[in-house]
């Protein structure tokens, strides 16, 4: 329980080469204890999504190391990364990334199908407040509804780690609060480590820990002494 969920040392990520190279991460040293809600804040292009992708096993770092519960993610083979994602990780992508040819429910089932101990797809959709439109296709849903499907999909597998890239970006504050409530509940009930990237600074108040990101580096890390509940947050 005291082992950190994630540790990174000197993590860098460079896209492209030579003159055109983009340094998305310029050396990230980080420690995230297990079962915490962590909020990542930072300007656009500062490398938040990149960090999430690497920790989630979706992308590879250029240099440095990243550990999940002592296992070196950066040293994993493709096969091991697949197993890692399949067994432990839930994602909410910045652009939702729903399968256009599957309904809301089927999009959730796509993940519960291969999870070890998932909740029912319908239950996950109720949790994010989607009751009626669950047999609709993504093209028939609003952006916010699509986002909630994406969150239900991530939560449904009851993962040990949950990566959420701007989960409330397209939502009104009432729905947004509902979604944040779901995320904190998952954290409280299952001990899931939750990483949330957001531009809504107020969200930081419900985190155990807030990481400020700038220009591919961590500017500072703040530990909240007291946390607000999702209902108490306004933005």
């Amino acid at each position: 329980m005291n082992d950190p969920a994630f540790t990174t040392t000197g993590l860098t990520k460079t896209y492209g080469e030579g003159e055109a190279a983009v340094h998305a991460l310029r050396g990230v040293d980080l420690e995230i204890p297990p079962s915490e809600v962590v909020v990542l804040l930072g300007p656009s292009g500062s490398g938040k999504s990149t960090l999430l992708n690497i920790l989630g096993g979706l992308d590879r770092a250029s240099t440095g190391q990243a550990f999940y519960k002592g296992q070196d993610i950066t040293a994993m083979t493709d096969r091991q990364l697949t197993r890692y994602r399949r067994a432990h990780v839930g994602f909410v992508f910045q652009f939702y990334n729903l399968m256009p040819s599957l309904t809301a429910r089927e999009n959730v089932e796509l993940v519960t199908e291969i999870a070890e101990d998932p909740m029912a797809a319908d239950e996950a959709l109720h949790l994010v407040g989607l009751n009626e439109r669950i047999d609709h296709f993504p093209a028939q849903l609003s952006g916010g509804e699509q986002q909630r499907v994406a969150i239900a999909r991530a939560v449904a597998k009851q993962p040990q780690v949950l990566f959420c890239d701007e989960p409330t970006g397209a939502l009104d504050s009432t729905t947004g609060r509902k979604v944040l409530k779901v995320l904190t509940e998952v954290n409280a009930k299952l001990g899931t480590t939750v990483l949330i990237v957001t531009h809504a600074a107020a969200t930081a108040d419900l985190a155990h820990r807030v990481i400020h990101f700038a220009d591919g580096r961590i500017r500072d890390v703040i530990t909240n002494k007291t946390r607000k509940t999702a209902e108490e947050i306004h933005w």
Partner: protein, 787 residues
Amino acid sequence: MSPLTHKLLRDLWRMKGQAVAIGLVIAMGVMLQVMMSGLVTTLESTRDAYYDRYRLTDVFAPVARAPAHLDDTLGRIDGVARVQDRVVGAALVDIPGRAAPVQAQAVSLPENGIAALNATYLSAGRMPDPARPDEILLVEGFAKAHGLAPGDTLVATLNGTRRTLQITGLAQSPEFLYIAAPGEMVPDDSRFGVIWMGRAAMAALFDMGGAFNEALFALTRDARKGAVLAEIDRILDPYGGRGAYGVEEQYSNQFVSEEIDGLRSTANTVPPLFLSVAAFLLYIVIGRMVQSEREEIGLLKAFGYTNAEVGAHYLKLVLVIATGGAILGCLLGIAGGRGMVQLYLQYFKFPFLLFRLDPASFAIGVIASILAASGGGLLVLRRVFALTPADAMHPPAPADYSRSGRIGQGLSKLLDQPSRMVLRRITRQPVRMAGAMIGIACGMALSGSMLSTFIAFEDTLDTTFTVVDRSDLTISFAGPVHRAALHEIGTRDGVWQVEPVRFVPAILRNGRHSHRGSIQGQPTDADLSRAIDSDKQAIQMREDGLILSTTLAAKLDISAGDRVTVEVRDGRRPTLEMPVVAIADSFFGTPAFIELEALNRALKEPGRVTGAYLRIDPGKRDEITQWLKGLPMVAGVTIKAEAESAFRKVMNQGAGSSRYVMGLLAFVITYGIVYNAARIAHAERARDLASLRVLGFTKGEAAFVLLGELAVITLVALPIGTLLGHGLSQLIMAAYSTDIYTITLGFEPSAYGNAALVVLSAALVSGLLVKRDLDRADLIGALKTRE
């Protein structure tokens, strides 16, 4: 149902048009493979079974007149299992309502009624009663053509004797599997018949009491045929033996075997070509299809689906289309094969039919489609799997247009923005564009080469019947006559021109190669029947040597300047050494020409002819034909118009008819390819195009970006397809040609012009279909979801 299965079914439904087009392309390839191989297997196994059940003879030995007791001597030859003798002769049959009598062959039935060899299959009625000399069997096709049935009578002239004959039954025989009038290649049921008559009656008519004029032999399994033939010839020689020959040289069998061989070589060449093209297209199309699913593949990977699971999902999609197409192809192939066999039955007189399909062709067709499809799919999957999921699902396609920037800038003064987008995309993704372009070029090549084939068939027929043979009638005499006899014919009212010809049966040999046929003597500047060179210019007959047809030269492996041995099978039967002085283009048969009097001198029979070509007043054709047939020396008269139409019929309904099926398939494939190229381009660009529309570009401008690309690819594909097609057509022609006819082919611009029209029309139709979808596109939907 698992969500992936849902996805599979919905994806299939979404891309149904494309799936059908891909499926059809592969179905056409498989269909041709199954159809042609099934046709060959069916004809071959039916022929073999027929020969076997009705005991087709191994060796035929015609002789002038041999005493019946010679049978014993012949039977003792080492390697001979069985001998049967018989009497054969020519007959002329009167058909009520027809100006001239029709030629027929009369064959004796064995005395005891049981044919050990060359048995007859009785299809109606009963066998003639040996005690009644006027009872006969009539060959079925001829009877049907003239509405004759058992119980009817027939008036025929046999060896100068006119007889009224009683038809007791209709029959078929393996030695008359293919029946054509003498001197003609092509069968016409109404113009040549076969009569079977009791042995005693035949002997009486043809003066063969206690004698025979043909011996039939069955050989033992280990017989050495060459030695047996030589021995038979030695024994029969004193009695006017005409040279024994094996069944492989028997007219009907030779023709049928040639036809089946030709068909087999077509089946071995053309369908695999079609199938390869179809498989190649499948490979490209499936690859591009999977490529356009890249983001979804990345997403599945992100959720923790393994490569195997994702691969299996896409392979299922691909295989549903490929095997669906292959199975459809098999079914169509079976139907097509059966249809083709029915066509052949008009010419091959089988009493029964064994439908056989070649299981290997199914396997080849299905496996080729599956390999090509999964190959195309797996290649792309491997490339996508090599990316990290984050990369694979990275938002808008990270296409880097920076390298093509200069091109656009350089031309920016000349081109508007949409044109530059077209140009950049083509230059930026050369591999993808080349794939699409080669695909369309293949379609163009298939269509163009098939259209060339049509023209070549037509050309060959035209050349044969207008350039080579310019006569109206051909007459043949019962034997060599003096050319003075032609005078009477030449002076007859309505006869414009008479040109003598002498056919001498002979065996031509060059080392191990030999050919049993005839030499054709003609006047130096023969005008009605000519030898022509590859430019269709007449070649003059030469006194100093033979002019061989290309087919014969190839068969004997000989060229101009070489010498050939000619074993004459007529008259004194000399063996001559002759130089080959020229090679003539031939389309039909395997002629060997020489100047008429030079031939006669070599045979020491001056002034002899065996027939003549006539040009006549068309208005008097019937009258002249009838008069000619009444002349005692005339054995047969062939009206060229009839021969030509019979030949055209065979080319269009029999042997050559598969070209129409192939032509149709080529068009379907071409359409399928072009449609797919358009669809995939659309799928790859749907998002970009929606963005363009949102930015304020008109529907027309957005469509231009897509269709402009298609247009450029199509235009580039045309010349490449033409080149490919020309090569392909040479292969197809070679496959269609047999010993009996040769189809020759030059470059046919009109074929490629028309093929280009096919491709362009396909592009137009596909373009319009895609444009309709573009216009209908739900902009918001296209932007909102990531397809």
